[in-house]
Amino acid sequence: MGDELRLPIAADVDVVEARQQGRALAAVAGFSSGEQTVIAAAISEIARNILMYAKKGEITLSLVQNGDRQGVSIVAVDQGPGIPDIERAMQYGYSTSHGVGAGLPGAKRLMDEFEVDSVVGHGTTITMKKWRRAI
């Protein structure tokens, strides 16, 4: 607990590594295999987002606790161009590259908490969390 795992994202193998590490951490937190898969998929989307728009960045995975609820937190940071229109970027099916436009909005659907903080010209930070359901 309290440990965090920092993973550099600079190539597509890093995306695979990040989602595998995320799945492992979700297993430690006690998430069901279905939820582990969901968390891995969300990590995959935001990791790819870094690669597509900022070329490189970092993802930090950690366990979090809120009262008696346990969860995982995933923070993706890059110093890329930033997102000019966050609202639009969060619309399902919208993509400025050749993605399917399911990336960020898709990840948001999968997680319980999802926050985008972006400054054009400086970079983007995405923070997302998933909490474990009782039994």
Partner: protein, 138 residues
């Protein structure tokens, strides 16, 4: 990680063995489409049993394979999607609409046999065979 593509009769079978990077997936798409044309096969099976997660890129690549193969005269079926993976996919909004999906390799072969011989085979029932629907469909 290269995905082996085997030829069996009129079909090409690509069976994914482990987690794939985006580049691996793109390479698989190109290799399959090239081979469909060369071998003039009638069907393509992509076995994804080994994948423990599928994100938007993976799903888009599979969809592209199916559409491109169709343009080159071959029917594609995706086999072996794991229950957890399927559930995560639909939550992401990725439903592989218009692409045939069946349980496993055996079902995939039966599906293609049915398709290429003009029968229903083992495949998913398509919309023209859907049962009459109730009020919500009108």
């Amino acid at each position: 990680m290269e995905v082996p593509i085997l030829r069996q009769g009129q079909y090409l079978i690509a069976s994914i063995q482990s987690a794939l990077t985006d580049a691996d997936l793109s390479h698989l798409r190109e290799a399959l489409i090239a081979q469909v044309g060369r071998s003039r096969c009638r069907g393509v099976i992509v076995d994804v049993t080994a994948l423990d997660v599928m994100d938007s890129f993976a799903v888009r690549t599979l969809r592209d394979i199916a559409h491109m193969a169709r343009l080159r005269g071959a029917e594609t079926v995706i086999v072996g999607i794991q229950p957890d993976v399927a559930f995560a996919m639909v939550q992401l909004g990725l439903t592989l609409k218009g692409v045939a999906t069946v349980l496993d390799l055996e079902e995939g072969l039966a599906f293609l046999d049915g398709r290429t011989k003009g029968g229903l085979g083992g495949g998913a029932f398509d919309k023209s065979r859907r049962p009459p629907s109730g009020p919500p469909r009108g």
